[in-house]
Amino acid sequence: MIKIDKATKQALLDLYKSKKIALEGNILKVIDSDGDEEFDTYVKDSIEKDKENRRKRLDITKQIQNKNKELLEGEVEKERVNLELVAALEEAEESKKEAISAKEQAELAKEEAETAREEAEVARTEAEKSKIEAINAKNLAEGDLELMQKRTQFELIGTIVKVALWVILGVGVITTLVFMIALFAGKDTAVIGSTWSNIIGILLTNSFSIIGTIMGVKYASSDKKE
């Protein structure tokens, strides 16, 4: 403990009385008032005042500490939210990139589909053209076939006509020869004469009938072609 001389005690007491300035801090706890009641009261009051000041400061410091703690927690929370925002932003960027990529792919697919459609259109046109060409070829072939058939028919008809004409002419000549021989030989010509006239009549009739038939066929064929 520290003992203080009388003059210093008085000086401290006077200072406290006139200016309200007192000793502070732990030094007060080691001062021995040495039986001086007035100084003892001064020391005790000063200790109480010091404790009161310290209590106030302690409360304020604790409040500041709490505020600091809250600020730090706020900073941590802010940091966390910032990180979340950055992550969300990155995710959005990623989604945007994916959307752009998907759009590009869709556009590419659309272009490919358009190309395929155009190719199909070209193929269809070509197929149409080929079909027309095939139909034309078919028609041409059918025409050729018909022509060949007609030619064959005409040739056959011609042959028939020639043969028929030869047969008619032959029969007519033979009958005429037989009738002339009979006339010149002086034989009975009653039967042969009527036969000859009948045959000539039939032959003529048939000849015209054949010619008529041929002409009719020819005419009908030319109409069908038109």
């Binding site: 732990n26 706890k29 404790k51 209590r55 302690l58 604790k62 500041i64």
Partner: protein
């Protein structure tokens, strides 16, 4: 009353809190505060190698995580106890209540663990009551919650 205390903590505001609490509770009349474990190690090295030994504090409170220091509070306790002569009551004062850290502190020679909070005074008062047991090394490690 504890003769002298050394507080090693990076938080300046806590120095004020601790000083006022110690004064109000009449725990000590002499309190020295340091902000880094390197500074504290330097002092203990000096006292150990050169002296004067009587300048050494009687009790040391060390924060667990001391920002801006090259090692933490547990390592400082280990150095003081095993490299610089021990002879101080030493422990941790931290807001952490991790059993694994407390186990490390015990192995480093810590005698107590005081949890920092708004209401530090009741813990310091309880510590003051137990102090003699720490001084004569009869008290086991204790966590003040």
């Amino acid at each position: 009353m504890i003769d002298s205390i050394l507080l090693v903590d990076d938080e300046d505001l806590f120095h004020l809190v601790f000083e006022d609490a110690c004064s109000l509770l009449d725990i000590t009349l002499s309190l020295q505060g340091l902000n880094s474990s390197d500074e504290a190690e330097g002092l203990f090295r000096k006292w150990f190698n050169e002296g004067p030994v009587d300048e050494k504090p009687e009790c040391v409170f060390v924060d667990l995580n001391i920002v801006g220091s090259s090692f933490d509070g547990i390592e400082l306790i280990r150095k003081i106890n095993f490299e610089y002569g021990n002879h101080v009551v030493i422990g941790i004062i931290s807001s952490s209540d991790e059993p694994t850290e407390q186990a490390k502190a015990i192995s480093a020679g810590a005698q107590f663990w005081i949890i920092k909070s708004d209401d530090i005074e009741p813990r310091l008062e309880e510590f003051r009551k137990d102090y003699d047991g720490y001084k004569n090394r009869t008290n086991p490690f204790k966590v003040y919650k």
